[in-house]
Amino acid sequence: MLQIQQGDHQAFTILVDRHLGALHGFVQRMLGNPADAEDIVQETFVRVWQKASQWHPKAKVSTWLHSIAHNLCMDFYRRIKGETVDIMEVELIDPHQPATSRQQQDVALQVQIALQQLPESQRSAIILCHYQEMSNREAADVLAISVSALESLMARGRRKLKKILQAQSADLLGEI
């Protein structure tokens, strides 16, 4: 990061290669739409390059990258607020990926739709801790909240997710 701050584009290329996959996964799960996700990820890295001087050596690079991407996702939500989103438009992230069975694909689609129905803050908390495998401290830093607030968001999010999935299909979650 220090090299990037000095304008070293080669160092920036290494950073992109190291974090592109994880960041793309995060944004894709946040938005549920691969096309919009690519634009947000591109904008995130452009901001990293332009504002590298704002990075503080104490901050973990991945946490800083995720917080920029998270803010851009929030801006995106604010922009599209009010627009009607057709639930059928939520894509299964990779429809071409070989699924072991049709049923598994249906379950994955239902979970993805349920995730998109969560409030943004709850979704962010679950994605950061579950999918991005961040510690509670790191996830709280990304969202700029306390650890206890993060735990509350995750608990409420998971409860709501269960409720949605149970309403969709009684046998999906087994006995809860």
Partner: protein
């Protein structure tokens, strides 16, 4: 007494355990490190705790079932190209114009110089039409001569009446 002992001796209630799995799910690796030992101990002792963990794990498995597509190679290229552009030194206006004039595609190689030639041509034509509509120099001279003669006549007429 070191931290490890403190963690081991710390007890967790059923309520706290429930809150833990509610937030972090059933995978023990995702639980905060400072609560892991006490939670695992309760898990060994309590059937109810195991039931709560199993229930939370069901949701974890469902979350894991959602696939993710990798980023396209084009995305990486787009990011690097766009950021590279910011590193290049700023061009002056003339360099920018030449760069623009040359274009980047075959179509632009022809269309942009043609457009650049058309602009002064159109400007010249527009100027020519405007001049044709305005009064000529001769008519302006004749008009000013008439005004001069009229002024002379009026001066003679208004001379002293003595």
């Amino acid at each position: 007494m070191n931290l490890q002992n403190i963690i081991h001796q710390h007890k967790i209630t059923r309520e706290q355990f429930s809150q833990l799995v509610d937030a972090y799910g059933g995978d023990t690796k995702r639980w905060p490190i400072e609560k892991q030992a006490a939670a695992l101990k309760l898990l060994e002792e309590s059937v109810e705790a195991r039931h709560l963990q199993c229930s939370a794990s069901n949701l974890d498995h469902l979350l894991d079932s959602v696939p993710i597509s990798p980023p396209t190679a084009m995305l990486r290229q787009r990011i690097l190209t766009q950021t590279q552009r910011y590193t290049e030194p700023a061009q002056d206006a003339w360099q920018w114009f030449i760069h623009w004039l040359m274009g980047t595609t075959i179509r632009e190689h022809f269309l942009r110089p043609a457009f650049a030639l058309m602009v002064p041509l159109l400007f010249g034509m527009l100027l020519g039409f405007n001049l044709a509509d305005s009064p000529t120099n001769e008519s302006l001279a004749a008009e000013s001569e008439n005004v001069w003669v009229e002024e002379e006549i009026s001066l003679l007429a208004l001379g002293p009446m003595e």
